[in-house]
Symmetry: C4
Subunit: 239 residues, 4 copies
């Protein structure tokens, strides 16, 4: 059992040198496997390169599997770990390889990126994380209200533009659901330019939608920012 | 009269269990009727599906009518309710069905969404709502000033771009009113790409318009956000 | 001289009833003349309508001229008024009509809109205006720094994208000056879609430009907003 | 050695009249050389104009070289200067002229713009600069966290949209790397309109990406703004 304790120190914690090494190796492995995942999607890879990527994938899955087994082995409550967020992310990062031969579950591999978050648990970010939680608690009610109002607003905007533009552009605003795409692209000010009103009524409606809507979308970001500075103040007073 | 008092408790308030049930049922009904309204606009519905949606519509109008009658019946001042904001919204939610056979007033049905706001009056959002009112009072003057300046700015931008681009693109910038469309789409940074300056003069003008204008449009959101955090402080001090 | 004093009270001030009437009439006149200016730009006006607009223009110029003469007459220091900002705006609002027969100076008429600002001097906005001035003084240094950094950044972005895209799209990124158009449209996140990088190098460059640049453009608005709330605090403490 | 001390006062400092003259002349030279660099990129320059620009370039390189030599000569620690940021910028501003005859290193000339920053060290901006440094220190942790989350988010968005759109638009979303372009253009709300989802799945995915992502991109700007006002408060208390 002494080995298990020793291993736990390495695998679960990072206040020892070997613990930090372990963490860094895993981080680099994650990065390599994400890059190789991205490279695999390139359309004009040579066969040789694809075989290389395949080997990298096999190697990283083997290493991740060993890590997963280790984490279960050293955990004081293995089942709690398996069912935890990071437990699920860890299994999702390797499972597709084992079961997906008929299906194309390669996509699930990007779940590996969530494993990166584990490194955010490092000590120096603890304080910032705590501030985020505090800020989230401070503005939760306002944010929920804003999101509800925003959701209602998006729906009203989509219904309105459908009413104005459906006849003029039946293939672009063919239903309220299609208009929702316009509403979200417009209110976030992305404005791809694939759908936009062409009737005078639709343009005047858009005018007012933008006048009100841009504020509804931009205010939450400002709320979070000012809550974060508030959280910092509270923290400083608490010290 | 005891029944009326009992019903009032259920219909108008939500601090009893049956009151909450009533509220939730109405909310779900609103959601169903809005979804069915949206589905109706889909272009390729089968006849059977359309008939189903028709029945849902009839059912929800009947239930909303009963609710409306109930609200009048239990209200202490029925006329005040009828003329109130929610009274108007409630009647607008059902009226189109009764009168609109020749005209296409289906659009009015989306007024039902405003009924959702009633649920925002729940206790837990009361505080956040009060903060919004307080914040609105704090920045009212600045916001009005900003909106006036923004309105003037939009008009100047539209006139200016008309002056620069009218000759080069007479069909896109055919009048100051057409240019207003460009001004609002540009200053909110949506930028669909359907209209944009092509002359050198127009582009230099746009350069300066954007330099000043983006600020004019973005500052109000920041104002509201900081007023909200101010409102929270005032509230906390008052406690 | 008593008449002159009386007239001054009406023309220059708005704390008497007749002063407010005078102000409101001028405001309405400005609005009418701006609307008629906008309507004149419509391409498909009938001849009759154009003649009507012409008459409205003549009438408003006559009334503005009378007002201008009055303002000079009642002013204690006529020359100071003539050379002041509002004096120049007032003369620019009527001059084009008198001198512009060969030239097309109609555009100068939109200067009339600046006359609207005069009404902002009303008492109830005085406080908000003073706050704006205070806020401007607070963040002046930061804003100047930010604008300089932003100007440098825009130039670097334009030069960089010229370097990457000039060969691939010689007609769109034909010089650094043409690339400036791309830079300003991209950094303000308008993104019309008329010019955008297509080479890999240009896209990676844009990636980093956006990463840094969006902040540079968005921060000033936040700065102004927080300076305004600071100005409000100072004002409240001073009370 | 008296001359060297005198020259140092002129070249390195700007609290004497001749020091300020020297600084201003260098600034104007930088501006002239940047404008001539930009003009050189114009496609339709006459030969005469190009020769003029060439002469301006030669003249400014000579003057910059003299300045560089002077700075080394007067510096108390010449090697420290040569290896400092401004030392590197100064050499990069002239080196391309001397070595680049075969290669096209003209692009390096835009490094001259960084020389402009030197003038920001003027006394009146010192305070604002110090505030920026203080603000950067205050929000460093939050900014790093946000950038990491943003980077992860951009990658997840790119992978997701690749999954949804690759089949429908294989030439636009041909790999995760190509999708990264879409992700950055969308999340910064630029939205050129060159790539956008067309499948229903891709659009719903974009809906959620925008909902979360716009906040992640907009919050940092607000953070910096509120940190700057915090820095101002700290400074005022310290006085």
């Amino acid at each position: 059992m002494k080995l298990r304790n020793k291993l736990r120190k390495i695998v679960e914690e990072n206040d020892t040198r070997s613990g930090r090494y372990f963490d860094n190796i895993i981080q680099i492995l994650i990065l390599i496997s994400l890059i190789s995942f991205s490279l695999e999607t390139l359309p004009d890879n040579s066969d040789q390169f694809n075989i290389l990527l395949k080997y990298i994938e096999i190697a990283s899955v083997i290493l991740f599997s060993i890590e997963y087994a280790l984490r279960i082995y050293v955990s004081k409550k293995p089942f709690k770990y398996i069912l935890s967020f990071y437990g699920c992310v860890d299994i999702l990062a390797i499972l597709p390889f084992y079961i997906a031969h008929g299906l194309d579950l390669r996509f699930l591999r990007i779940f590996r990126i969530f494993r990166v978050f584990r490194s955010l648990k490092l000590i120096r970010y603890n304080k910032a994380m705590r501030r985020f939680h505090l800020a989230a608690k401070i503005v939760k009610e306002e944010l929920v209200l804003f999101l509800m109002v925003a959701a209602i607003f998006v729906f009203v905007a989509a219904s309105g533009i459908y009413f104005f533009e459906n006849e003029a552009q039946p293939e672009k605003f063919s239903s309220v659901f299609h208009s929702l795409w316009w509403a979200i692209v417009t209110l976030t000010t992305v404005g791809y330019g694939d759908v936009y009103p062409i009737t005078i009524g639709g343009r005047i409606f858009t005018f007012f939608v933008l006048l009100i809507g841009v504020g509804i979308v931009a205010v939450p970001a400002g709320l979070i920012a000012s809550a974060l500075s508030k959280a910092r103040e509270i923290e400083e007073e608490g010290k």
